[in-house]
Each structure stands twice: as structure tokens, then as C-alpha cells.
Amino acid sequence: MKLRILIADDHEVVRRGLCTLLQSHEGWEICGEATNGRSAVEMARELKPDVVILDIGMPNLNGLAATRQLVQQDPTCKVIVLTITDSDQVIREALDAGARGFVLKSDAARDLVTAVEALQRNRMFFTPRVNDLVLAGFLNRGNDGSTATAPRLPQLTPREREVIQLLAEGKSSKEVACVLNVSTKTAETHRSNIMRKLGFHSIRDLVVYAVKNNIIQVQMPSQPTAPQDDSAA
């Protein structure tokens, strides 16, 4: 029986690349493609894929929040997160969310097939940096009896994190309510709870918080090289 894989990335070019890469492997098939985390969760509920490959930086519901929901929905769900960074913070959140694989996008062509093969054999796949962090956490736990990787955003519920992403993306309470299929009043309650818990007074504070904590990812403009001669155009 074929291994069924669901892919989620908001860029079609990346999805095409991932499909090309994975479909060349005998015995694997792409059973679905999602363009954001929320669609991925819904599609996984219907399609029951063996493996889900999720980009972290996606609109509407990011890959980390989607991983939480996927694992909550089906604890046997095997998720690989694709990321542009392997910072400690992102690694911790991915592990905390229940990801079984962690692949850098820049290394995906090299590592992704190996990662899927590992999950197929009920193993995990992490980059060397993740392995180091996991080991450090394990060793630390041995010393002081507690985990070194305290969960981030401890005071926020998963639902509140979802709401933060939607608000930080510029959605109104009404639009948040629509996306989450709740009443506007409930969305407003979430919003005021979040602001109170975090001690914020403006959406600007919330956006900064969301960026700093990888709830949303922004494109950092690189420094373009100044043209030496305008007539080049």
C-alpha cells in the first residue's frame, strides 16, 4: 500500500518542487495539497494521510499551530515541519507541538526523502542542530530534574495563539470570528483576554509580539545593491 502524503505550503512553486521530489520515490503518493495550516488540518481530517509536511510560515494558521491541531486530532499523525530557520525557539515550539520531523527548507532537497523514510519506519528525523538541542535538554533534565525547554507562551491557550495570528495578519474581530466559526463576541473575548494576559494596549504591540515569537513570519527586506549606472535599465 502506498504511503500517502499531504503537503502544505502557501507557495505553489514550493509545493510543485516538493511534489516532484516526493513523487519520484516509489511507493509514495501526494494525496493532497493545502495552501495554509487551517486547510491542512481540514484536509487531514478527511484524507487521513500517513505523513503531513507543513511549512511553518503560512497565513491564517501557521505550521506550528497546525501541527498542534493535527496531533490533537489524530495522535498517530506524523508531521514534518519545514522551516527557513532552525533557531532554538522554533525548534522548541516544533517539538512541543508534536512534530516528528524537522527539515530546513534550504536542505529539503537533500533531507526530505530521508525524513519521510524515517517517519515511515516510525522513527523521527531532525537536523543535527535539533539533535544537539534535544540532547542538551535531556542532559539538563538529568542535572536539575526539570526540562530546560520550558514551553513558550505558557499563559496562552492554543486558541488564543490562533487568534493572535489572525489579528496580527490584520483581521478584525468579526473576520476572526468568521474564520474560527465562533461568534464575534467570543472573538472579542479572546482578544481582550490576550491583551490582558500579555499586558498590551494596542494591536501594534500584538503584531510585534507575533513577529518576535514566530507566530507570523515577515519578509525581511534584504539590502538591494545600488545600481552603479541608472542607464543600465
Binding site: 507557495h11 512553486v13 509545493r15 516538493l18 538591494p224 545593491t225 545600481p227 543600465a232
Partner: protein, 136 residues
């Protein structure tokens, strides 16, 4: 006549995706792939492609610097910038550096074929619905 294309992006998965999209068009051939700006300049010099698909944010050499150098070395080679930056300022810089087209990655599936078609015929291309409209 076959349009010969060089793809430049530091992410192999993106190169795979671009190659797949371009492969659907008869008469176009991806002749080579480069992973950074320096490789791009060297390959463009050596292979003389008709079109270079060029990412902006890359290691070793920024895409716009590579764009400028490729245009200096091979003026007949047209450059299509493909980037995640949906920014009018970035697009302006790209055109000043000699690019003929500008496509935002999130819209690549929609815009890429039309863009390659345009620049291969030496016409400017900028996505009409993007923030960076106005260069057509």
C-alpha cells in the same frame, strides 16, 4: 526556436518547482541551475541563456548585483526577477539593474509563464495585481 532558460535560486526545492512549471511549456528548455549569484554570473557568461530566472536574496552575491553583472556581460540575455519581496522599491531597483520582468514568488504559479513569455520577447513584465504594478 527553443528558449533557453537558466534558473537561479538558493533553495533546490524552489528550483525543482520552477523547473516543473516551466517544463509544461513546449519550446522552453531549462539549460542549467545555479544556487547563488556568483554561479549565476559565471553560468550566464558561459552558456548565454535567453532568459535568466533570478532570485534576489541569495548567499555569496545578491541577486540584483548578479543581475547588473549579467546584463553587463551578456546584454542579450533577459532577466526575470523572481522573489518573495512584493515591494515596489525592490522592483524599481531590479529594473534599474537591468531586469526585464519582476514576479513575486507567491504568485509565480499564476504569473511565471506569462512573464517568461514576455521577457523572452524583450518585453517588460510586472504582475498586474501585485503591489508592484505599473511597469508594463
Amino acid at each position: 526556436m527553443t528558449i533557453r532558460i537558466l534558473i537561479v535560486d538558493d533553495h533546490p526545492v524552489v528550483r525543482h518547482g520552477l523547473k516543473t512549471l516551466l517544463g509544461e511549456h513546449p519550446g522552453w528548455e531549462v539549460i542549467a541551475e545555479a544556487a547563488d549569484g556568483i554561479e549565476a554570473v559565471e553560468m550566464a557568461d558561459r552558456l548565454s541563456p535567453d532568459v535568466v530566472l533570478l532570485d534576489v536574496t541569495m548567499p555569496k552575491m545578491h541577486g540584483l548585483e548578479a543581475c547588473r553583472r549579467i546584463r553587463e556581460n551578456a546584454p542579450n540575455c533577459e532577466i526575470l526577477i523572481i522573489t518573495q519581496h512584493d515591494s515596489p522599491q525592490m522592483m524599481r531597483e531590479a529594473f534599474l539593474c537591468g531586469a526585464k520582468g519582476y514576479v513575486v514568488k507567491s504568485n509565480a504559479a499564476r504569473d511565471l509563464l506569462a512573464a517568461v513569455d514576455a521577457v523572452s520577447q524583450h518585453r517588460n513584465f510586472a504582475a498586474p495585481e501585485s503591489k508592484v504594478s505599473g511597469a508594463n
